[in-house]
Symmetry: C2
Subunit: 137 residues, 2 copies
């Protein structure tokens, strides 16, 4: 794969994560997370969670809540280093701005999340006039 194709694939995996979040789809969220490597997750204001069981239990707790907020990923930037990749992006949670680091590992069936940290940001970035249009979540 070319570096550009790898970045596209990582951004696609990142989009799948936010789509699962937005759809409150626990099975889809489960599929976005890795099964090979240890995983970790830091939700805003939470202590770090370590291990797949703790991380997936947290997502189940968040996604079963009918009041779970709508979320959109804004201005993702992907970095690929071999079989490890990172996306830094903003998150728009019904007008509240967060910033996130999403770390991925290449598993045999594609890029899977191994770490996520989201935390408050001072605002959302200005739209980039050169960016391709975002698919709606």
């Amino acid at each position: 794969m070319t570096a550009i194709a790898d970045r596209e694939a990582v951004l696609f995996a990142n989009e799948a994560f936010y789509r699962a979040f937005c759809d409150r789809d626990i099975d889809a969220m489960d599929r976005t997370w890795g099964r090979v490597e240890p995983v970790a997750c830091i939700h805003p204001g939470w202590p770090p969670l370590h291990g797949r069981d703790a991380v997936m239990a947290s997502w189940t707790r968040i996604l079963v809540n009918p009041q779970a907020p709508r979320i959109a990923c804004v201005a993702p930037r992907a970095f690929v280093w071999g079989d490890t990749a990172m996306v830094v992006c903003h998150e728009d949670i019904q007008g509240q701005a967060l910033v996130a680091t999403n770390l991925f590992r290449r598993e045999k069936d594609g890029w899977r999340l191994v770490h996520h940290q989201a935390s408050p940001a001072p605002g959302l970035p200005e739209p980039d006039p050169d960016a391709p249009p975002q698919r709606p979540n």
Copy 2:
């Protein structure tokens, strides 16, 4: 290098980052950051910074401030994937708890930071009675 030796080396690089922060040593901070790959940094409450110039300018702005807080790294956990590694840890900033993700790449002269995100945490973890003693910062 063995996996254990790699983890030790990454934790050492992580410690060097916090020592540079604690000592307000801009040259040492500069040495902890990578020179080969693009770097990024998300300070608590800041927008993400991209590129070495922006990241180092932010550290200079923080470290030249004589009121810069004392910081200690608490309970670091290292993950190594080939030439990329991550440390998830708490930060104790004069009693205020933060949680951080520090991402490293192996460069020819050692592990160097390529990304840092720190954000508020609900508290510091309980001390692990089985953990080796931390070197004082």
